[in-house]
Symmetry: C2
Subunit: 272 residues, 2 copies
């Protein structure tokens, strides 16, 4: 069951600006026992995105109520929320009276191998680069061709994720996840001032690390930094936290800081 | 009348990757007396875009036939063609057996002031920058948030277009047009190796200039170059060629090279 502006639907108006321009935002939310996880954090990011794109913000109480409808009977599932600038005529200019489109879709829980969180995953470095544009950096917007091209680079099911650099050669994130390095007993994650998606789980990890007294920093990082790090891990709302056990030729040992973070984070979460 | 995969339609499957990721391309085509103009050029660009995005190419004979249906009874109109990677489940990875979506939409001819081509237009410089990414440069893809943000910067109907710089400060194009400078008796237009849309009309202007013996070059250009130029003009399939009569405080005189190009180009075209 999907809800479009509050109504069950399977199709969208052909004039929607989400289709024509990617003029909108989305959230992908883990659902456990029918409940959307980290709801306040997802709503905060969505509202911040609306502010930056000058989209009229949705009523988050209404979204929560509609999420309940969409998730009726669900156990484990994925909830995707899309907000677009709605239907309009041709042309980039948004109508003054734009009526945003509000779309809630339910998807199956992804069939990632259950051991990914425990034994770690193999990742690769993508050739597709992320463009640098501070105006869009951090947003989970609907312009995602770079991720599509990057994810199209490999077919091997043994490779769980691809890391992406920006056009300046900085390590930024995975195609569907954020990335952290462990070095010198602390965490470092790429700065997202110029590109990348500011992940909800990334923010949770930074909070958890701070509460545990683990030093955290954001910085400009390179692939060489990743190779030199003691450990690497990936985060997203859906994957939780996956240690990286191999990047290209480099193998990483199990790292106690990563294990501590997993324990702290996921007592009440999807990886529990 | 709009045609979706050959069938009259007003809505699109909610799972279309055009909506979720902007995973597709479009063409906006001027229609005169029911005929789509510069059809071979638009098809060539579309096929080249499909090749670069690894989208299965559409059958252009079929597209031409469907364009005829969509344009039945049309005089002046705008034809928009969208090709997306089609419907799929959640996730950036494209399904192996992706069935592209083929969408033809008819829109009214835009109500631009008829004098724009003769007396020229007032343009502004946008603050929104274009990100540099060679992987997407030149393509008329569906990731157009930068143009949406730029076009949202002004409301004044006296300003016909906004020029955009890339994040490195180079002048690239207008929000919906390409830009040319006239200097030293020749044409210069921004190189589109890192960003921008390789316009069909831009290519026609370069051809026309070459046939007239007018020197042409592509180069990295700045706003200072535009200010120092003898003349400036904009091109697109829909606007044809608009001289710029004012950019910010700088006013430009009528330029005979621009007039010569207009005559050469539009004997059989929309500005005739």
């Amino acid at each position: 069951v999907n809800l479009l502006n509050g109504q069950p639907a399977s199709t969208l108006d052909l004039h929607d600006r989400g289709l024509h321009y990617g003029d909108g935002l989305f959230e992908t939310i883990a659902v456990d026992r029918g409940e959307p996880l980290l709801w306040p954090q997802h709503m905060a990011r969505l509202l911040e995105g609306c502010r930056r794109l000058r989209l009229p913000p949705p009523d988050t109480d209404l979204l929560r109520s509609e999420a309940g409808q969409v998730l009726a009977g669900a156990g484990r599932a994925t909830l995707k929320i899309l907000i677009t600038r709605g239907s309009a005529g041709r042309g980039y200019r948004a109508p003054r009276d734009a009526q945003p489109t509000r779309l809630l879709m339910r998807f199956p829980w992804p069939d990632y191998p259950v051991d990914n969180g425990r034994t770690g995953v193999v990742v690769r470095l993508c050739e597709t680069r992320l463009a640098r544009n501070p105006a869009l950096a951090g947003l989970k917007h609907l312009n995602r061709l770079e991720q599509v091209l990057a994810r199209g680079e490999w077919d091997d099911p043994g490779i769980a994720e691809g890391l992406m650099l920006d056009t300046g050669g900085c390590l930024i994130e995975g195609t569907m996840s954020n990335v952290f390095l462990v070095r010198a007993g602390g965490l470092v994650t790429p700065a997202l001032d110029a590109c990348g998606v500011a992940g909800v789980m990334r923010a949770r990890v930074l909070e958890a690390a701070a509460s545990l007294g683990i030093p955290c920093a954001t910085a400009d990082l390179t692939p060489a930094d990743a190779e030199a790090a003691d450990a690497l891990f990936l985060t997203s709302s859906l994957i939780g936290l996956w240690p990286v056990r191999q990047l290209g030729e480099r193998r990483y040992a199990v790292n106690p800081i990563v294990q501590t973070l997993q324990q702290q984070l996921f007592l009440d979460h999807a990886c529990a």
